[in-house]
């Protein structure tokens, strides 16, 4: 082969316009991140077939979320339409569900028996914590009480390299900048997934007495009740993920609680059954988009403004109703008095 090539190349003009496909496949595609690999898939049918390689996406998913390497999750992913690529395009982009869904869509959601959470917490690109948890969704234990998934056992503590020293403002800022969290939820029946975390904290607060720090991640989505528009307390709902960290001055912090809940616009917890419908709706119908880092925080702030407005409006309505009730009561009383009077007059005249 070499000698054949030598005769043709020797003396002729040397030019290379395209790189060998195997170099692209084994050396370049393997170094791309998910979004770029998705862009490469759209360039030509050949690239499209190259990027369908399950292994490429498996690597990308495993490095983004070590938790998905769990055999339980792997089994579920193998049932996804495009395997790890589906998982990535479902769970990497930010969930965006601002439009209400019709009652019909919500009713037609498949029935699920289990939600699988795959959670990863990173501090400055180093994995702190990774866990897979199954939550059954059929029994009354799940359906009726407030929805809540706890990842840590009662006395379970996860060590971190974050040291508690110096100004607490600095510590909180550090956590806000560096502590990221991903919470992928897979519906055991739907062959789809969704990420219900804002990735970056929307707020970091320290308890004034216990000095424990609560880092909050939140995603705001359209709720299941849009009938009364802005009067509904579930026009929008909030997935709230709380990470509680403790630690003594001079030592290192530890994670003592990681939990997810769902709240309506009056901060009331939704029941398991109601939450499940919304989660399934997010998985099936939520748009996915590649969000900017501060977007989650921005949306959360907007949500808080909306909540306050709603509260004000509600108070006004209540005041109005109170006045209405009171005048109604007065009217009723005077009417009753009048009837009683009439009755006694009749009685009197009859006797």
């Amino acid at each position: 082969m070499a000698s054949g090539a030598a005769t043709t190349v020797d003396g002729s003009v040397f030019s290379i316009s395209t790189v060998h496909p195997d170099i692209i496949q084994t050396h370049i595609l393997t170094q791309l991140d998910g979004p770029t690999l998705a862009a490469a898939a759209c360039t030509s049918s050949y690239f499209h077939s190259l990027t369908r390689n399950e292994k490429l996406w498996q690597e990308i998913c495993a490095s983004a979320w070590p938790s998905v390497k769990d055999p339980r999750v792997q089994t579920l992913i193998s049932m996804f339409p495009s395997g790890h690529k589906s998982l990535f395009s479902d769970s990497f982009p930010v969930l965006d569900l601002q439009r209400p869904q019709s009652k019909h869509t919500l009713d037609s959601l498949p029935s699920t028996t289990e939600l699988i959470s795959a959670v990863d917490i990173f501090y400055e690109n180093n994995l702190l914590f990774s866990k897979v948890k199954e939550t059954e969704t059929v029994t009354g234990w799940f359906q009726f009480p407030p929805f809540r998934i706890d990842l840590l056992g009662e006395k379970e503590l996860v060590p971190t390299p974050i040291s508690v020293a110096g100004e607490s403002d600095v510590l909180l800022k550090q956590l806000e900048d560096k502590l990221s969290l991903s919470w992928i939820i897979i519906d055991s029946s739907g062959r789809k997934a969704v990420n219900l975390s804002s990735r970056w904290p929307v707020s970091v607060e320290q308890h004034w007495l216990t000095r424990e720090v609560q880092v909050k991640y939140a995603v705001i989505v359209a709720g299941d009740d849009q009938r009364w528009g802005s009067f509904s307390t579930r026009e929008f709902v909030e997935f709230e993920i709380l990470v509680t960290l403790g630690g003594k001055e001079g030592g290192e912090m530890y994670v003592k609680e990681v939990c997810m809940q769902m709240k309506d616009m009056e901060e009331k917890n939704l029941s398991g059954r109601d939450s499940l419908v919304i989660i399934q709706n997010c998985i099936a119908n939520g748009k996915r988009k590649q969000g900017k880092r501060d977007e989650g925080k921005h949306k959360y702030k907007e949500f808080r403004v909306r909540k306050t407005e709603k509260k004000d409006r509600k108070q006004k309505v209540e005041r109005f109703l109170n006045i209405g009730c009171f005048s109604g009561f007065i009217a009723f009383c005077s009417f009753k008095l009048w009837v009683m009077l009439l009755y006694s007059i009749c009685n009197y005249s009859a006797s």
Partner: protein, 172 residues
Amino acid sequence: MASSSSSSSTQVKKITLKAADGKHFEVEEPVAMEMETVKSFFVGNEDAMKDMVVPLLNVSSEHMPAILDFYRNHSEFRKRTPPPPAEEVKAFNEAFLENKSDEQLMEMIMAANFLNTKELLNFLTEAAANRIKNKSVEYVRAFFGIENDFTPEEEARIRAENEWAFDGLDED
């Protein structure tokens, strides 16, 4: 294979390499041995070393000086104790890629592949991957010189599948 062995290496252990366009390069033996392709040329053929010209069929003479420079520097980095600071290596690598067009980068990737040197190939392919990170489909097409063979319907469908990846792209 190499029929014309005209070059003479009087210096201590120098090897003559011939680029695809016929130009000759005299290279110190350890540097030449960084290239697996050249190394394999001499395996079991030690006598040939002195006066043989090694033809490099896929390497243009345009890129030879830069490639040899990379080998020299990186082998020096590897030998040095204590190892050089990361900044020094980074600075060299950045300077190496500076002013290199996409096309030149591609040609060098082909050369590194032919010369069978993992270090250079990994370095260059990583640079290529970085250049297309967060870029539009059109940019990636132009970068690799890919011809779009989708029908408009196919392309629309595939783009819709990957829609999530397209907002927040960098300027081309």
